[in-house]
Assembly symmetry: D2
Amino acid sequence: MIISMRPHATREEIDHVCERIREFGYKVHSIEGEERVVIGVVGVGDVTACLESIESAPGVESAMRISAPYKFVSREFKKDDSVIKVNGLDIGGEEFVVMAGPCSVESERQIMETAEGVAAAGAQMLRGGAFKPRTSPYDFQGLELEGLKLLRKAKEATGLGIITEVMSDRDVELVAEYADCMQVGARNMQNFALLKSLGACGRPVLLKRGLSSTIKELLMSAEYIVAHGNPSVILCERGIRTFETATRNTCDIAAVPVLNELTHLPVVLDPSHATGKRSLVPALSRAGVAVGADGLIVEVHPCPEKAVSDGAQSLTLEGFRRMMSDLEAYIRLWKQTRAALTATAV
Amino acid sequence: MIISMRPHATREEIDHVCERIREFGYKVHSIEGEERVVIGVVGVGDVTACLESIESAPGVESAMRISAPYKFVSREFKKDDSVIKVNGLDIGGEEFVVMAGPCSVESERQIMETAEGVAAAGAQMLRGGAFKPRTSPYDFQGLELEGLKLLRKAKEATGLGIITEVMSDRDVELVAEYADCMQVGARNMQNFALLKSLGACGRPVLLKRGLSSTIKELLMSAEYIVAHGNPSVILCERGIRTFETATRNTCDIAAVPVLNELTHLPVVLDPSHATGKRSLVPALSRAGVAVGADGLIVEVHPCPEKAVSDGAQSLTLEGFRRMMSDLEAYIRLWKQTRAALTATAV
Amino acid sequence: MIISMRPHATREEIDHVCERIREFGYKVHSIEGEERVVIGVVGVGDVTACLESIESAPGVESAMRISAPYKFVSREFKKDDSVIKVNGLDIGGEEFVVMAGPCSVESERQIMETAEGVAAAGAQMLRGGAFKPRTSPYDFQGLELEGLKLLRKAKEATGLGIITEVMSDRDVELVAEYADCMQVGARNMQNFALLKSLGACGRPVLLKRGLSSTIKELLMSAEYIVAHGNPSVILCERGIRTFETATRNTCDIAAVPVLNELTHLPVVLDPSHATGKRSLVPALSRAGVAVGADGLIVEVHPCPEKAVSDGAQSLTLEGFRRMMSDLEAYIRLWKQTRAALTATAV
Amino acid sequence: MIISMRPHATREEIDHVCERIREFGYKVHSIEGEERVVIGVVGVGDVTACLESIESAPGVESAMRISAPYKFVSREFKKDDSVIKVNGLDIGGEEFVVMAGPCSVESERQIMETAEGVAAAGAQMLRGGAFKPRTSPYDFQGLELEGLKLLRKAKEATGLGIITEVMSDRDVELVAEYADCMQVGARNMQNFALLKSLGACGRPVLLKRGLSSTIKELLMSAEYIVAHGNPSVILCERGIRTFETATRNTCDIAAVPVLNELTHLPVVLDPSHATGKRSLVPALSRAGVAVGADGLIVEVHPCPEKAVSDGAQSLTLEGFRRMMSDLEAYIRLWKQTRAALTATAV
C-alpha cells in the first residue's frame, strides 16, 4: 500500500495514519517529499480493510494498493497455463477450441440441425441458451428444462460438449446435470451469489466479462469461483460498453494478451456479441486467433431471420463453414507459435 | 418500427422484408427515397421478435423500434406521479425523503448510534447492508441474518423505516421479513431471476441503476418487477461508469429529469456512490434536491475511519447533521415548486 | 513519484532503476515488501521525463506521479478564489453570472432580438458563435467577421459583454478585437497551438472541457493558457461523452465541486450542451446553481425551430425568462451561502 | 429522414411539421400508427438544416437521418478501394505497409539509428514527431523545424518515406515541405481549421481517430479534407477512451472491418497508442494484420528508457525486428486473401 498525504497534512494527521496502519499489523515507511509525505506500507494483513480505513482518515489524499487483489487466478500464483478439461477437450492447451451454436435453443429441429452443421464445419462444442437473460420481461425467456434436454439430445447425436448459461444460484444444480461447461453471462459477472454456488458445481465455468467490468474485476469474479472450490474457469472477452454505436459493443481485443500476462486461465473471444453484426464476425474471429485467444464462442443459426434472439449477429451454417475454412490457415499458424504467442517483446 | 434498406437493396429483398413483416401481423408503408427504401411498420404485434427477424433479412441496413419497449412504468401508461408508501412515508409525494445510514451493518452499537444520529438530524429512513456484494471474495460479506435483526432493533428504537439490499432470489423472502423497502444494487439491476422474485415480495423495491446501464434499461428492469406483480418501484441514480477517475462514478444528474419525463415512478439520488468522496456529498445533495429528485440515499457512519466498507464516502454524524441543516432551505424551495419542478420549458 | 517493481524483479533491475532516478536529481527511498520492492522518489526535477524513462526500464511494473502536474491553476498555488473581470463583471466573485444567446449568430435581427430578450430577463453576457466548429463540412460554418460585427452591435445596444468562440490561432487577434471573453470549444480543448496563442491575447478565456477529457486534462489545458501569460481563465463543464444516449452528453455535475477543490479558477455550467434537450435545461440550471457553479452559459434563440444549429437545446426567449424567474430563489440561496458552498464536510 | 411524433401530438403539430419539411423542398409520407404518427421524408435538400429545424418543433419526439452524412469518402460514392500513393508506396493496395519510428525526433543520432534499424527490419516508412501535442505545457514540445530537417536526413539515408504530425493550420505549409504524409493527431481530429487547410496541402494525410470520436465522426473529418480538395486520406484506429485502465486506450479493432464496409479509404492500426504498453504491441499487430488493416504505425526507439515521450509503448529495435519476423507469416496470409478479407459473411 502507498498512502499519499495532502500537501499540508499536519504532523498529527501523519502520526495518526501511521498508528492506524500499525494497528492492522503492517510496517510503515514514511517518505518526506518537498510537497507532501508519502507512506509506504509493507507486511501481511487485511489490505482492503486497512485501505478502507486509511482512505477516511483526516489528511489523507489517496491510498492505493500495489499488490494484485486476486491470488489463485494470478500468474504469480501459478506460472504455467491452466488447461481446463471439458468433455475430453483441453481448453487452454494445444488445441484452438471453437464453440458454436444458436443464441437460444428454440426447437429440436433447430438445435439438431445446428449441432450437426457446426460439428461438420469443425466446431468442438455446442453453445445454446435454455435460460435467457432478456432486457425485456416480454421477450422470450428460454425453453428452460426443455431446452436443456434438447441440448443433451444434440450432444448424443454429435458428441459435441455442451456449454449453456445459468442465471441464478437456484438453477446451478439443474444446469450442471446437462452442461459440460456452465456459462455465466455478462450481466451476471458480479452476481456473487451465483459465483459462490458455481464454486461447488463440479463443472468448468466460462465466465463472460461484464459490459462495463474492468479486467481486474473479471479476475476478481474468477477468484470468487476458484476461492469457493472450483479451479476450472475459462474467461471470455465479449465486448464492453463504450460511446461507439457502430457495433453492439466494443471488442477489447487487447484484453486477451493483457489477461495472458496476468492470469494462467484460458481466454476465449466472443466475436458475435463483441460486434453484434454478422458481417464483422469473420474478421474478428481471425483477429481473435492471431491475438492469441484459446478459442472462440460464435453464434450460428440455421435461419438467422427466424431466430428468436440475436439473429443479426448469427452466422448461417454456410457462413460458419466458410469462416472455419478461412480460419484454418490462421489456426495452423496459432499452433506453430503457441509457445511464443504470449511472450512479451523487449 | 422503421426498417431502412441498404442503398442498393433489390426489389426482391424489399418484397421479402415486407412479407416477413406482414407475417407478424403488421401493416407496411414503403417509402421510396432517392437513395434507398424505408419501410414504416404499424399495428400491434410482437415488436422484439419482428425486429430481431427483420434485422437479419438480406438487404436490411437497420431496423429500429419507435415505441417505448416498456409499458407499465411509462408516463404514457399513467400520467400522474406514483406515490410509494414505505413505512408510512409517501415517496414520490409531497415529502422529500432522506434515507441515511452505513454501507454495512457492522455491530449493534454502530447501527444504533447511526440510527439515532440520522433520525435526530432529520432522516426518515435507515439504510444499511446485511448482505454485501463485494468485488473480492476476501472482503467482508455482511452479517446477513444477524444484520437484519440489528436493523429491526434500530427500527424499534427510532421508528425509521428500513431499506436494505437483497442479492439473490433465494434471500427475497427472508429480507422481506425485515425490510420496509428492498434494495436492488447496481450490480444486480439485470439479475432477472431476482427481479422476477421481487415482483411477488409484497414490499416496495428501490432499484439502483447499473454502472453501465442506460436509462432505458433501468426502466426495463423496473418493468420486470411491475410486470411480475409489484407496482411499488423507486428508481435510484447512483452514478455511472465513465473514463473519469476523479470521482468513483460519474453522477448522471440529468437522469433525474429525464426519468421524470419518461416515467411516473419516483427517483432518488445516491450522492455517496455517485462521487465516492465525502467532501462532495453535500454539493451533490443540494444538486439532487434542486434538480427535482424525490429523495436522497446517503452513507453515514459514526466513525468512517473504522467502517468496514465505503468509509471514504461516508459522512460522519456531525457532517450529516450539518448537511441536513444546509439542505433545509433547498427542500423548502423544493416543496414550494413541487408541481413546477418537472414541467418542461417551451 | 512511486515506482512499483514487478514481483520478481532482480536486484540488478532495482539498482538500475534507482540509479536512473538519481541521474534525474532525485533521492530514492526503497521499500522492500513481502512481494515486491516499491521505490519512493523525492526531490525536485523533471517529473514527466523521469516517469517516462522509468516506466520503460526492465523490471518496472508501474510508475506514478503523486504531485499534481499543474501548478499555477492549483489551489495549492493560490488559496483564494480567482475573480475574473469581464466587461465590468466579476466572474468567480459575489455575483452569479448568466451568459445566454444563440448557438450561432445568424442575422442582425436574430442577434438583436435575442440580446434584448436575454438582457431583459437578467442575463449579464451574450453568447453567440461567429466561427462554428461543425462536424460536417456541408453545415453552416458561421458568419465569421460579419458575425463578430453583429455581436458588437448587440453589445452597443444592450451593454451585455460578448463571449464568442475562437477556433484557430490564426483568428485569435481578430476575435479578441470583438470579444470580451474568448471561448475555446470542447473540440479544441487540447488544440495546444490555440491555447498557447491565447496566453497572449489580452482577454479572459472560457475553456470548455473536452468531450472525453478528464478533469485533470482540463486543468492542464488551463495551465497552458496561464503558463503562456494569461491568468484569466474560466472553466466550463458542458457534459462528457458516455454510453448513455438519452441525453446528448452526460453532465458531470460533480466536476464543479471537484474543480472547486482543486483550482481557484471559476467554473460555469453549460446545461444546454450537457443535455442537448430544451426541456431539461431548467432542471440542470437549478442543479448548477445549487452545486456551487459560478455561472451558467445557456443557449437561447428567438425561434429555435428556425435556428441553423442546436435548435433542439435552445430555450425560447419566453422559456428563458421563465427559467430566470424560477432561478431567482436559488440564486438568492447561492449568495447567502457563497462562502460555505465549497466547504467540505467532516 | 424519419420524424417520430410524440404519442399525443395534435393534428395541428403534425401538420406544422409536414409543412416545415415541405418548405425545405422535401416530400412527406405520414404513417399513422396505433400510438403515434411517424413521418417519412424523401427528396434532396439540406438534411442537417431540416433536421435541426424539425427537432425543435412542438410535438416532435425525435428526428433522425437515414442517409449517411458523408459522401465522397463513402463506399456508395466509390466502390473500389482507394490506393494512396506515398513516396512510391501504394497504401490500400497489394502491399501491407509498416510505418515505424520514435514518438519524437530527439537527436540526429536517435533518428538515424532508428531509421536504419526499422528499414533493415522491413518498415517502409519512418514516423517521428517534430511538433508534439503534449498534455502539459512543461513537457518537451518537439524540435520543430530542426526535427523536420533531421527527418529529411533520415529519408535521404534510408529512402523511407516520412510521416510526421502537423498541429496547426499555420504549420501546414512548412510540414508539407518535409513530409511525405501529414499526420493529424487524435486530439486534432476535429480541428476543423486544420482539416480545411490540409485540403490544399498537396500531400496525403493520415487522420487519426479522436479519443472519443465515433467512426462516423472520423469519416466526417475525412470528408472535410476530401471536400476541401484532397482525396488522399488514410484513416487510423489508435484506441479510444473507455473506463478500462489496464491499457492506455481501448483498441477498437472492429473499427477496421466497419470502416472497410463504409469507406473506400485505407485503414491502418496503431498498436502502440492503442495499448500504451510495449509487451502488448506484437499481439495487437498480429490482430491488425488478421483483421484486414492496410498497415501498421508502430513506435520504436533505440533506447525506450531514454525516450523523452512514450517510452513505455515503444519497441526496441531488436523487439521490432523480432516482431516483423513473426508477422511475416501473417502478412503472407494477408496477401493471399486480400480480396476476400473485406468480404462479408452470409
